[in-house]
């Protein structure tokens, strides 16, 4: 096999990097940290059945956690497999070598998959420790392992394929995460939104076949379903297609590799945005003020040049009809209300919608902000900036303001949604105020911490991964202390409350108290986030020159 040298080269490169081991340790530490608190204390008044139940619980949550971690890691391990070669213009050299396109993609895929699989194998001792508690069978462990492994293959395969056809590592990650999120959470979202419901005592087979997460849920919670058929017999459907899907992705990537650079030009976000732009422009022609051809980009003017660059040059900033595109977004939202008409009266629908929007805001802002500096570093234009007298304050303020301006409409979306349904009388007016404290502070924090990370890390991929890791860690804060908006989706979910009963979730608390408590919590949380941002900013400014590659 001619791809073998590539496989070996990449594998050796991985093994040499200290980062690989840091990564593996972090992965394990995360698992252990989450699972240890669940671990049952031995002896004293606990029956064997109780301990076994806890064992089962640990096993389940470990499984869910691993699926989610894999969803984050698998595309990331392969996301820059080809994009990096394209960036460095070494792809042509590789293609001209004896290896051939298939050997290249398989070599890269297998070496990276090997590392993922290694991560999974690291957890095996942990799993066997669980066996001692009872409540988990060896078969279940094997099945879970198969599901996880197949999912890793799929995630890595998608990463390789996207890396071949897209231009930027950050685009690969965004699209990849989008696909995996749709697969993992899609069935649940559909069910939450009430588009279909599973009658008690039955399985939503589709969900389990499609999503590894559901496959596991159904596998381990058989007791909560009255078995009309033996679902566990079909556990293999999902891993089977994951495995096949991953391998197909890599093979397709091999076919496409020789044309990679021309494909990524066609598929670039920029082109897509431009088409979308042109479309909305045509659709919203009534708002046109002057001929579209002549519409100039705003000039630098006297303002912050970094802000100008961020808002008129970079991908999102390129929308010449930016506000029109956003109007189209709003229109889309309006139309989607029609589709969800039967749901609009139910608070659960609004909770989920706002939570999803909150999650989207955080992820998108993080990815955009984490890319902003490192992409400048990668195309080596940062060095040009470094020789100008540009100051930290100008740079960071320009970036933050630019990013927030570009995503302003997205950030406004949950407010618009909530405002509408307060008007309709479904959502409690207090929700709006709670969100007013939660969302902007969380968004600003996400941006500034991601900028910090992207100043620290040399490549886009690492910057994005680190920023997301921080986001994940922060989302645990509400569980530890009362800082709800650090986990924006969760706090959105809790803050959107029905008119009738504020704080239904905490039925024991009286309504007034609930509002005061939540209000205090969210204000405290916002203040903490602002303080946190200030600290991060001072960290940035103290090392700014060094981060952008200046000496003094």
């Amino acid at each position: 096999m001619t791809g073998f040298p590539i496989f070996v080269r990449e594998l050796v490169a991985y093994a040499r990097r200290p980062r690989t081991y840091v990564f593996q340790s972090v992965f394990l530490a995360l698992l252990v940290l989450v699972l240890i608190p669940l671990w049952p204390p031995s002896g004293q008044g606990r029956s064997g059945a109780e301990i076994a139940e806890t064992g089962g619980l640990i096993f389940q949550f470990g499984g869910y956690l691993q699926v989610i971690l894999l969803a984050l890691l698998a595309p990331a391990t392969t996301a820059n497999a080809i994009t990096l070669e394209k960036d460095k213009k070494t792809l042509d050299v590789l293609l001209l070598s004896d290896a051939g396109p298939f050997a290249i993609v398989w070599g890269k895929f297998l070496s990276r998959l090997f590392n993922l699989a290694f991560l999974l194998f690291l957890t095996v001792p942990l799993l066997f420790a669980l066996l001692t508690l009872g409540g988990v069978g060896a078969k279940a462990i094997g099945v879970q392992f198969a599901i996880l492994l197949a999912f890793a293959v799929f995630g890595a395969g998608i990463g390789v394929l996207l890396s071949t056809i897209l231009h930027k590592t950050s685009s690969v990650l965004m699209v990849g995460y989008g696909i995996l999120a749709a697969i993992l959470g899609g069935p649940g979202l559909v069910e939450q939104l009430g588009l279909y419901s599973v009658p008690p005592g039955q399985y939503a087979l589709g969900a389990a076949y499609a999503s590894p997460l559901y496959d596991m849920i159904y596998l381990f919670r058989t007791s909560s379903f009255v078995a009309t058929e033996s679902f566990p017999l079909h556990w293999w459907v999902c891993p089977a297609w994951c495995l096949a899907g991953g391998l197909v992705c890599v093979t397709v990537a091999g076919f496409l590799l020789p044309y990679a650079t021309s494909i990524d030009r066609i598929l670039s976000f920029r082109t897509v945005f431009e088409r979308f732009d042109a479309m909305t422009e045509r659709a919203l022609g009534i708002f046109r003020r002057k001929a579209p051809e002549g519409a100039p980009r705003p000039t630098v003017g006297t303002g912050n040049p970094i802000y100008w660059k961020e808002t008129s040059i970079n991908t999102i900033g390129r929308f010449r009809y930016w506000w029109r595109a956003n109007l189209a977004l709003l229109a889309f939202m309006g139309i989607s209300y029609l589709a969800f008409k039967p749901m609009l009266g139910k608070i659960e629908f609004h909770k989920v919608t706002v939570a999803v929007l909150g999650g989207l805001i955080m992820l998108l802002l993080t990815v955009i902000a984490a890319t902003t500096v490192s992409s400048e570093r990668e195309d080596s234009s940062l060095i040009l900036l470094a020789t100008t007298p540009v100051e930290c304050a100008t740079y960071v303020k320009g970036k933050v303001a630019g990013i927030l301006r570009n995503t302003m409409f997205l950030i406004a979306l949950p407010f618009v949604h909530v405002a509408i349904f307060i008007g309709v009388g479904v959502i409690h007016p207090a929700s709006f105020f709670l969100l007013m404290f939660a969302i902007p502070a969380a968004a600003a924090t996400a941006v500034i911490q991601a900028i910090f990370v992207s100043l620290l890390f040399p490549t886009t991929l690492r910057a994005i991964m680190a920023a997301i890791l921080i986001l994940v860690l922060e989302s645990a804060l509400p569980l530890i202390c009362c800082l709800p908006s650090f986990n924006l989706p969760m706090s959105c979910y809790f803050f959107v409350e029905p008119v009738g009963g504020l704080g239904q979730a905490f039925a024991a608390t009286s309504q007034g108290n609930y509002l005061v408590a939540m209000g205090l919590a969210v204000v405290f949380s916002a203040l903490t986030q602002i303080g946190f941002s200030v600290v991060i900013y001072s960290l940035i400014s103290s090392g700014f020159d060094r981060y952008i590659g200046r000496a003094a």
């Binding site: 003017g301 040059i313 970079n314 080596s380 020789t387 100008t388 007298p389």
Partner: protein, 311 residues
């Protein structure tokens, strides 16, 4: 304008610059020559306040790179050896962007940009997207960019690398113009013929050590051993050569086989010039058609110096 004292840069265990001391005065065009990995880029990056020296001092316009980098940045224009261009920016936008980073605004900015575009012959490309420019145009744009804030000192790291001969000549003309404007220029290059015409001073560096620094004439006279002249006579070059050899100062006289009537004459260092060769030939009634001194070029000097032939 530029001064380094015992400038040293160590990367881990590699000494990239070894106690480099050089002085460049106002209005000098200083050619920085050396083989790959000699430390040219390292030196220039230290002067451009991008790298911190391990030890030693460097001053640009009187400001030290240790601690006064801020002041230096406004005084210098630096063209790195490789640099990215922003995607999706037009030439004018690119220049406007950098102008605003130097806080040049309003009418000034318009005027300055027009001027630098004219100077670099890029006016006709001002609405083109930066990433659609050819390599030569990009180099010129890079020069336009560093001229925006009218810096006193230009630090150019191989500005002509990767250019075709024509573009190279264009860049050279541009640099000459800048020289006439009184700028101090430090320029590194491998292409020596380019430098010999342009520079009044050169520095030769190898393995982080400055082997030579001085004017071009100094280096040429230093490496030169004997002068070589080429003489063309109308007939009987063999006899003419024999006649020349009788002279004390002529060490060697050879008829060139491939060129009709030409003789290569090696003259001892002691001679003031080669004019006596003509005189001698005319005295012996040979018809001299032409005579010229063969230049020793920088290339040869470079080869000799870097081989350690100059003490």
């Amino acid at each position: 304008m530029i001064e380094t004292r015992y400038l040293t840069k160590v990367y881990k265990d590699l000494v990239a610059l070894d106690k480099l001391s050089l002085t460049i005065d106002q209005g000098d065009i200083y050619g920085f020559i050396g083989p790959n990995g000699a430390g040219k880029t390292t030196t220039i990056r230290i002067l451009a306040t991008l790298l911190r020296p391990t030890s030693g001092q460097a001053f640009v316009c009187g400001y030290s790179v240790n601690g006064q980098a801020k002041h230096i940045r406004r005084k210098i224009g630096y063209v790195p050896d490789e640099f990215g261009v922003y995607e999706d920016m037009s030439v004018t936008e690119y220049l406007e962007f950098f102008a605003s980073l130097y806080e040049i605004t309003g009418k000034d900015r318009k005027r300055v940009i027009r001027d630098v575009l004219e100077l670099t012959d890029l006016s006709y490309k001002k609405t083109a997207e930066v990433d659609s420019l050819s390599r030569g145009m990009r180099q010129r744009l890079a020069l336009a960019r560093v001229l925006i804030h009218d810096p006193d000192v230009l630090l150019l790291d191989e500005p002509a690398s990767g250019l075709d001969p024509r573009a190279r000549i264009e860049i050279r003309e541009l640099l000459k113009e800048l020289r006439n404007m009184g700028k101090t220029i430090l320029i590194s290059s491998h292409i020596l013929s380019e430098l010999s015409e342009l520079c009044n001073k050169v520095g030769i560096i190898e393995s982080g050590k400055l082997l030579f620094t001085g004017t071009v004439t100094e280096i040429l006279s230093k490496v030169r051993s004997n002068e070589i002249a080429l003489v063309q006579v109308r007939e009987a070059p063999e006899r003419a050569a024999a006649a020349l050899l009788e002279h004390d100062l002529v060490i060697r006289a050879e008829v060139l086989a491939d060129r009709e009537g030409w003789i290569e004459v090696e003259v001892d260092k002691g001679a003031d010039d080669v004019s006596f060769v003509t005189r001698l030939l005319i005295e012996r009634s040979f018809a001299v058609l032409s005579i010229r001194e063969q230049e020793i070029d920088l290339e040869e000097a470079f080869m000799q110096v870097t081989k350690g032939q100059v003490a």
